[in-house]
C-alpha cells in the first residue's frame, strides 16, 4: 500500500472514530433520559402518565422505522441549521445521533425495566423522592445493562457511519466504496475490513470488561 493510501486509511479511521464517538456520546446523553422517561411514565412507574408515555413511544417508534439512509437525506435541513453545512464528518454526526438516540433509548428502557421493584419500594419506604430513586436505584442497578447496550449502539454506529459517506462524511465505509470497490483497490478493501473487525472487537472487549466490573448482582 502506498504512503498516500496509508494516509487516506489513517484519516478515514479518525473520521469514523469521530463520527461514532461523538454521535455515541450524544445518543447516550439523550437516550438514557428518554429511556428513564419511558419507564417512569409507564403504568406502575414512579411518575405514571399514560399520555406522555404513548406520545414518547410513538415518536421513538417513528424515528426507528425510518431507514438510516433516508434519515440521512431527510435531515439535511436540520443538519444545516445546527452545523451550518450538510456536508462532511461533523454534519454526519447530526443524523447519526438522531438515528441512534431512539435506538439506545429502547435498549436503556429494557435494562431499567428489569430493576427489581422491591428496591424501588425500599427507597420509597426510606422517604426517598423520585430523583433519589433514579439516582440511587434505577441507574446504578441497571448500569451493567446500560453499558452493554451502549457497546451495542457504538458497534451499530460504526456500521451506520459507512452510509454517511453518501453526504461526504468520509470515514472507513466511504474509503472502502470509493477506492476498494469503485477503483478495484483490493488491498484497501482488505485493510478497511481488517480495521473494522479490530475496531468492533476492541469496543466489544472494553464494553464486556466494563460490564463485568460493574455487575455485582451475582
Amino acid at each position: 500500500m502506498s504512503p498516500v493510501m496509508l494516509d487516506l486509511l489513517v484519516q478515514s479511521i479518525w473520521e469514523t472514530l469521530v463520527m461514532t464517538g461523538a454521535s455515541g456520546l450524544i445518543s447516550l446523553a439523550a437516550g438514557l433520559p428518554l429511556g428513564l422517561a419511558l419507564v417512569a411514565t409507564d403504568r406502575g412507574g414512579i411518575a405514571p402518565n399514560p399520555w406522555v408515555n404513548s406520545v414518547l413511544g410513538a415518536v421513538i417508534n417513528a424515528f426507528r422505522s425510518v431507514p438510516f439512509i433516508i434519515l440521512l437525506v431527510a435531515l439535511i435541513p436540520v443538519t444545516r441549521l445546527i452545523v451550518g453545512t450538510s456536508i462532511g464528518t461533523w454534519a454526519a454526526i447530526v443524523p447519526l445521533s438522531i438515528g441512534a438516540t431512539p435506538y439506545y433509548a429502547r435498549i436503556a428502557e429494557v435494562s431499567l425495566r428489569e430493576v427489581d421493584r422491591g428496591l424501588i419500594e425500599a427507597v420509597r419506604a426510606m422517604g426517598g423522592n423520585r430523583w433519589a430513586i433514579i439516582r440511587e436505584v434505577l441507574v446504578p442497578e441497571a448500569l451493567p445493562g446500560i453499558v452493554a447496550g451502549f457497546t451495542v449502539t457504538l458497534v451499530t454506529l460504526i456500521g451506520a457511519s459507512a452510509m454517511a459517506g453518501a453526504i461526504g462524511a468520509g470515514g472507513l465505509g466511504d474509503l472502502a466504496i470509493r477506492y476498494g470497490y469503485q477503483r478495484f483497490e483490493t488491498s484497501i478493501m482488505i485493510a478497511v475490513v481488517i480495521v473494522l473487525i479490530v475496531l468492533v472487537c476492541g469496543i466489544q472487549w472494553v464494553g464486556d470488561r466494563l460490564v463485568k466490573r460493574l455487575d455485582h448482582r451475582i
Binding site: G118, M126, G127, N129, V137, P140, L143, H216, R217
Partner: protein, 360 residues
C-alpha cells in the same frame, strides 16, 4: 373482634384506653379495596411505644396492605392513620417523605441494592436525608457493629448469606433512628436456625434501643418467640387481639386455632378419626391451661381416673401455657360433667371433642 382484655395482673382499662401519647401508630377504621375485594375492611389498631406487635394471618388476609398503609406506600380509601400523633392520610407523596423517615422497614427478600456495598446500603437512608458523608459512614459502622457485620462493610450484598443480608437490612432500617420498625415477613425466606438468630437480634434491638417493632408474618412461631402482643387478621379484619400468651392459651376464633395448629399439640390423627359424637366409652377432652394452673399439681388432683392422650406445656412470654388431651370414662352418668366442672373451677378451658370406644 375478640379482645383478650381480662388478663391476670393487668386491668382491662389499661388496654382499652391506651393514652394517645403512648401510641406510635394508630389506625382507625381503615378501609382499602382492590376492585371489589376488600383488602382492609375497617381495621383499627394501636401500636404502643416499645412493644413488639405481631400481625398474623394467612396469605391474602391483608397483612401486606396493612403494613404498607402505615408508611403511605398504600393509600386507604377511608379511615385515619396517625403516626406519632399526626394524621397521614391525605398527605401528598412529598409530605409523606418525612414520616417515612421515622419508620424503618425490612423485607422478606431483603431489597438490598446490589450496586452498593454493605456500608453504602446501610448509609443510604442518611444520604437520602442529606446528611454529610462522614456522619453517614460513622453511623453505618456503628450499626454494622450492632448487627455483627463490621467485617463485611466493603463487601457487596451478593457475597452475603440470607441471614447476613437481613442483618444488613435491619442495620439500614435503623440508620435514620426511626420511631418504628416494620418487618414484612422478614424471616420467611430464611432457614429455621437463621430465623431464630434474626428474631433474637430484633428482640435485642427492641430491648436495648426501646424500639417499637411491628411485624407481619404467617408463622405463629415468629410471634411466639418475640411478640408482646398479637393481632390476627383475616379477610381484611382484625378478628382477635391480645397479649401473645393469652391468645395462645385461649384462642377465640377458628382462624387463630388453625394458625396455632402447627405449634400447639394436636389430637393425634388416629384418635381424631375414631371420634364419635355419640356419648359412650370415653369422652375425649381438649383442655387449655395458662399461668399458675398450667404449672400446678392439677393433674394429680383430678377427681376421677383419666388417660393422658397427648399434650404438653409451652412457655410463651415466660407464661406457662398448656394444651392437654384427656380421655375420661363416660360411665357412670354425670362423671364427665363432674370432671369438667372441677377443671373449669381451676380456670381451665375445656371442650368435649367427642367419644371413643375400645382402645383408641
Amino acid at each position: 373482634m375478640n379482645s383478650h382484655v381480662s388478663v391476670p395482673g393487668q386491668t382491662g382499662a389499661i388496654i382499652a384506653d391506651t393514652p394517645l401519647a403512648d401510641a406510635v401508630v394508630r389506625l382507625e377504621n381503615v378501609k382499602r379495596h382492590f376492585g371489589d375485594t376488600p383488602a382492609l375492611d375497617g381495621v383499627s389498631l394501636t401500636v404502643r411505644k416499645g412493644e413488639i406487635l405481631g400481625i398474623i394471618g394467612r396469605s391474602g388476609a391483608g397483612k401486606s396492605t396493612l403494613i404498607r398503609c402505615l408508611n403511605g406506600l398504600e393509600r386507604p380509601e377511608s379511615g385515619a392513620i396517625f403516626v406519632e400523633g399526626r394524621q397521614i392520610i391525605g398527605l401528598s407523596e412529598r409530605e409523606l417523605q418525612p414520616f417515612r423517615r421515622r419508620i424503618g422497614m425490612i423485607f422478606q427478600h431483603f431489597n438490598l441494592l446490589s450496586a452498593k456495598t454493605v456500608e453504602e446500603n446501610v448509609a443510604l437512608p442518611l444520604k437520602i436525608e442529606g446528611r454529610p458523608r462522614a456522619e453517614r459512614l460513622n453511623r453505618a459502622r456503628e450499626l454494622l457493629d450492632l448487627v455483627g457485620l463490621s467485617d463485611k462493610a466493603k463487601a457487596y450484598p451478593s457475597s452475603l448469606s440470607g441471614g447476613q443480608k437481613q442483618r444488613v437490612g435491619i442495620a439500614r432500617a435503623l440508620a435514620a433512628r426511626p420511631a418504628l420498625l416494620l418487618s414484612d415477613e422478614a424471616t420467611s425466606a430464611l432457614d429455621p436456625e437463621t430465623t431464630r438468630s434474626i428474631l433474637a437480634l430484633l428482640k435485642d434491638i427492641n430491648r436495648k434501643l426501646g424500639l417499637t417493632i411491628l411485624l407481619i408474618t404467617h408463622e405463629m412461631e415468629v410471634v411466639r418467640s418475640i411478640g408482646d402482643r398479637v393481632a390476627v387478621i383475616d379477610a381484611g379484619k382484625i378478628v382477635e387481639e391480645g397479649p401473645v400468651w393469652s391468645v395462645f392459651a385461649d384462642p377465640q376464633t377458628d382462624i387463630t386455632k388453625s394458625l396455632l395448629a402447627g405449634i400447639r399439640p394436636q389430637l393425634p390423627a388416629h384418635i381424631a378419626d375414631a371420634l364419635s359424637p355419640e356419648p359412650g366409652g370415653e369422652a375425649v377432652l381438649g383442655v387449655d391451661l395458662a399461668g399458675a394452673a398450667a404449672q400446678g399439681t392439677l393433674l394429680a388432683e383430678l377427681p376421677r381416673p383419666f388417660r393422658l392422650l397427648h399434650g404438653g406445656v409451652d412457655h410463651v412470654q415466660d407464661q406457662a401455657v398448656a394444651r392437654l388431651y384427656l380421655a375420661v370414662p363416660a360411665v357412670p352418668a354425670g362423671a364427665v360433667q363432674t370432671f369438667i366442672q372441677f377443671l373449669e373451677a381451676r380456670s381451665a378451658r375445656v371442650e368435649v371433642l367427642g367419644y371413643v370406644t375400645g382402645h383408641a
